[in-house]
Symmetry: C2
Subunit: 107 residues, 2 copies
């Protein structure tokens, strides 16, 4: 995970964390790496939806996926958690807010 964030990166990171399924994914992967289908079962959601959440977490580098060949020869996709430590206070946010992009509607 990046050490120095831009304001935009911070927003993406916080957005990635502000969803219950994604927090639960982090909690599960904190125990041990897990593959997609098993994760979907544990969370009680469909794989397509899970992929969406995994992508958001991977985009901000909170998790990382890789392929493994199981003992029985099947291709499995495992995800594991990256370690991170985020500190937020008013000074840090004030600094990062300096360079922040605002999306314009209908340009």
């Amino acid at each position: 995970m990046k050490q120095i964030l831009s304001g935009d990166d911070l927003i993406k990171l916080l957005a990635a964390l502000s969803n219950p399924f994604r927090l639960k994914i982090i909690a599960i992967l904190h125990q041990e790496k897990q593959y997609v289908s098993q994760l979907a079962r544990e969370l009680g959601i469909s794989r397509p939806l899970l992929y969406l959440h995994l992508q958001k977490l991977e985009e901000v580098e909170l998790i990382k996926g890789h392929h493994e060949i199981s003992e029985t020869g099947k291709a499995m996709k495992y995800y594991e958690l990256n370690s991170f430590n985020i500190v937020l206070n008013e000074q840090i946010i004030a600094d990062l807010a300096e360079n922040l992009s605002i999306k314009k509607r209908k340009d």
Copy 2:
């Protein structure tokens, strides 16, 4: 600001922080308290939109509003920033993820 958060509270807090206007509001209020119309001018947005953002920040107790009577006698609504310090790592999130509510669609 609360010291002990639930998982749901954490999500609300992070959601409140994952918006560029709201980070800018925090940055401005970090300098000094400000009243609504002036804030809207500085941010370049309408007051109705600003109210929406202010409400989200106030709901999670990052800011606090109060009324003041200006020298000229007008009622002004000022907002000021609460100090905060948020630390997030995988262990903290794993703990908070234990009690997390998942919204059901069409129950």
